[in-house]
């Protein structure tokens, strides 16, 4: 399929011509839906670059010989090379270049916290502050281009002769998808098992449509299938399929079961109707499509006043959904201050634009219910910041006597997730930390049980898409070496 477009028309450079960087210019803003429009729909907020914009932004890159962005990228994407390819109009080739390092570029381009990673490191910041190259947007552009123009072609390029080894992957989030894709490219036969009815993990059930369209996730998944990976949904390993049976039927197993268990605060009133875990709220809305009023079978409570506890990725997604469900007021209640918020910069900005309120240095102590068991308010307590804790952030300390009440008819507790115990509790000998986080050798991704590798949120607790993607890829390399090793040498964690 043709991928070369008329670069002269896009004001770029021709093949062979020397590029004149425009790093002094401002970075090209991405078109967004207006605030008024987007709070009434679930369509993607950031609309993405078109070819002309992508080429123009790519022209700002200095294509540094010792690029700092590459060092800062957890998977070390060859950023200057792919940006250079974009500037020459070779969009699919740019995407293919990224795919050597990252199996989910359309996803990562949208959801990676670039402002703390590659874009924070970009040298352009030094001379043109706050105007790093828009690496994430360019990554998204190139990959979307490839996914809409030539998926199957690109996938068939990678077919290798079959090795005859059989590998099982448990969980189809970014870690499982990335590992499966690489193993398939190496010529192994890969069976991927997913507990839910759709593959994608958090990408499908957690991150909302307006930030990561499900059609894009499905295209990335199609790409992985096109590489030859067999996916079976509705299989809960440990229930539908005994763990032992999986171990007996494959040469190696990759556990990528994520961190899907919702943490609650265990404070009075948490079981009142209208108090949700973030996972339940998000699953209803995203995976089960409760936002589609008419067609979806899964209900969700429509809030008037919503309170969201926490300030990570999840909390911002929830507060923005609450506003889209028609909440008159939606507040983030967070026990630390704005500086400590772990969420992604763009999402914090977007939430504020959309009308979310921040109630900072405040923590819930109990929920109040009405006579029918529905939540009607939350009692909160003000906090002070004390000495830094183990995370380096200042520890919040309650202020005595500062309690007050916030009226609300919906509460979503978004204070984090931990891994599910189903696999550890069904696999004797599998060592964990804190009862559920699977222990691995950080180099080989080997667990304490021979044949069994693990990666992603299952070995770290809730982290990021790119770290899960990296774990999948590095584990695939280690698994490849293991299955080919006649001695099947095992290096478990210490």
């Amino acid at each position: 399929m043709s991928e070369t477009i008329d670069i002269a028309a896009l004001n770029g450079v021709k093949e062979g011509e020397k590029k004149r960087p425009r790093s002094k210019e401002k970075r090209l803003e991405i078109a967004c839906q207006t605030v008024e429009a987007r709070v009434r729909n679930y369509d993607e907020v950031a609309l993405g670059y078109g070819p002309a914009e992508a080429v123009a932004e790519s022209m700002r890159c200095l294509e540094c010989p010792k690029p700092r962005c590459v060092v800062a990228c957890p998977v070390h994407i060859d950023i200057p090379t792919f940006i250079g390819l974009i500037s020459r109009g070779k969009f699919s080739q740019a995407a293919e270049d990224i795919r050597q390092y990252n199996n989910l570029p359309s996803v990562c381009g949208r959801v990676c916290p670039q402002e703390n990673l590659c874009e924070a490191a970009c040298i352009v910041n030094d001379t043109n502050p706050k105007n790093p190259i828009a690496i994430g947007r360019l990554e998204r552009f190139a990959s979307d281009w490839q996914l809409t123009h030539d998926v199957r072609d690109a996938a068939s390029v990678h077919k290798r002769p079959a090795t005859g080894f059989k590998i099982a992957v448990i969980g189809s989030g970014p870690a499982g998808l990335s590992c499966s894709a690489d193993l398939a490219k190496m010529g192994h036969s890969v069976d991927l098992f997913e507990a839910l009815h759709k593959p994608g993990g958090v990408l499908m059930y957690g991150i909302p449509e307006f930030r990561l369209p499900k059609a894009i996730v499905q295209k990335e998944i199609e790409y992985v299938k096109a590489l030859g990976v067999t996916m079976e949904c509705n299989v809960v390993v440990g229930r539908t399929l005994p763990v032992k049976e999986v171990l007996d039927s494959y040469d190696a197993v990759f556990v990528a079961s994520g961190a899907g268990f919702p943490n609650m605060m265990n404070i009075p009133g948490e079981n009142l109707n209208g108090v949700y875990s973030a996972n339940e709220f998000l699953t209803r809305v995203n995976l089960m499509k409760a936002w589609k009023n008419d067609s979806a079978g899964t209900p969700i409570r429509k809030p008037r006043k919503a309170v969201v506890v926490g300030a990570g990725f999840t909390a911002f997604d929830v507060v923005r959904i609450a506003l889209r469900l028609g909440a008159e007021e939606a507040s983030i209640v967070y026990r630390r201050s704005r500086e400590e918020m772990p969420g992604r910069g763009e999402e914090i900005e977007h939430s504020l634009e959309e009308g979310a309120k921040f109630v900072l240095l405040t923590n819930p102590v109990k929920y109040l219910g009405d006579e029918n068991g529905f939540v009607r308010g939350v009692v909160v307590q003000k906090m002070d910041l004390g000495e830094p804790d183990s995370s380096g952030r200042r520890r919040p300390v309650p202020i005595k006597g500062s309690e007050y009440e916030i009226e609300c008819d919906l509460v979503v507790v978004a204070i984090g997730q931990t891994p599910n115990v189903l696999i550890p509790s069904n696999l004797p000998g599998l060592a964990t930390r804190w009862g559920s986080v699977i222990k691995v050798n950080r180099e080989s991704y080997m667990t304490t049980v021979p044949k069994v590798f693990a990666g992603g949120d299952a070995i770290t607790g809730a982290a990021t898409v790119i770290l899960a993607t990296r774990a999948g890829r590095e584990a695939a390399r280690s698994m490849d070496a293991y299955v080919r090793d006649p001695a099947r040498t095992w290096n478990p964690p210490a």
Partner: protein, 284 residues
């Protein structure tokens, strides 16, 4: 996948279905349930596995057309059709060991899920006294099947049109007051019935177990929507249960939580099905 192999109307609004699901049929143990999605945009609903046949790769479900999805399943799906998704077997299996004499009670639709439990208990060497209750004779189903799986069977109907007149709790009281030694009681049925059993047996000090049917989304321990307080601790019914010690259940909380979507559900049913609600089937 997930083809409906049989469909039979057992009583008005009560439907038995066989579903092709080889992995589930093979792994199923008494007390476990599955999640069904009729179509791609349907909700996920929990249904107890009433029987399984690993050789045929088939599981049996029995359900009452009472909510949006069960009405759709009962009315719109026939033998040969396929369901979008069936996941299972989920939940911790019922604890089965040689207890001695076990009274197993099934109220209304609860008659179906106790079948594999009775079979399992009997195979483990227990004396299984089964009490099954229906509203009326014409709503009866599976009583022969249950009799085959039990040592002794008592049938009650609310109006006395078959067996003993009264509720299952009345029959239990009669056996207990008659001096029969009971080592364990298992009760499955509408929440009001399970609570009534719990209240009755608490003063007797006989271990009593119920199978809770809270609202669920995933059924795999991921959302916490199914949580309920058991002995002052929040538990996830889909993974920690569905079987719990009846005397530890916070029944008031559980009743409140079951009503969270009543308004939304009613609106959806009225919009879709011109009120085919078989409300008269819900036992009290």
């Amino acid at each position: 996948m997930y083809t409906i192999t049989r469909k039979k109307v057992l009583a008005s609004g009560v439907i038995e279905m066989g579903i092709l699901a080889p992995r589930i049929a093979k792994a199923h143990k008494p007390g476990q349930f599955l999640m069904v999605m009729n179509r791609e945009e349907s909700e996920r609903i929990p249904l107890t596995i009433a029987d399984s046949d690993p050789a045929k790769g088939e599981v049996t479900i029995v359900f009452l057309e009472v909510g949006r999805s069960t009405i759709e399943l009962g009315e719109d799906f026939k033998e040969g059709d396929s369901l979008f998704a069936v996941v299972g077997p989920l939940g911790t299996p019922t604890h089965i060991e040689p207890f001695g004499t076990v009274v197993v009670m099934g109220g209304g639709l609860g008659v179906a899920p106790i079948y594999p439990i009775c079979k399992g208990l009997k195979a483990a060497g227990n004396t299984v006294v089964t009490i099954i209750g229906y509203r009326r004779k014409d709503l009866m189903f599976w009583h022969d099947k249950l009799a085959g799986a039990s040592t002794e069977t008592i049938v009650t109907t609310d109006d006395g049109s078959f067996g003993t007149k009264g509720f299952v709790t009345d029959a239990l009281k009669t056996i207990h007051d008659g001096g029969r030694a009971i080592d364990r009681i298992i009760a499955i049925g509408p929440p009001v019935m399970m609570r009534a059993v719990s209240n009755l047996t608490q003063p007797w000090g006989i271990p009593t177990w119920v199978s809770l049917n809270t609202i669920m989304v995933d059924g795999t321990g991921m959302c916490g929507g199914c949580r309920v307080e058991i002995g002052k601790e929040s538990k996830f019914v889909c993974v920690d249960g569905p079987d719990f010690d009846a005397h530890l259940v916070n029944w008031d909380e559980m009743f409140a939580r079951m009503k969270v979507y009543t308004a939304e559900e009613r609106a959806a049913i009225l919009a879709n099905h011109e009120c085919k609600l078989h409300l008269d089937n819900i036992k009290r």
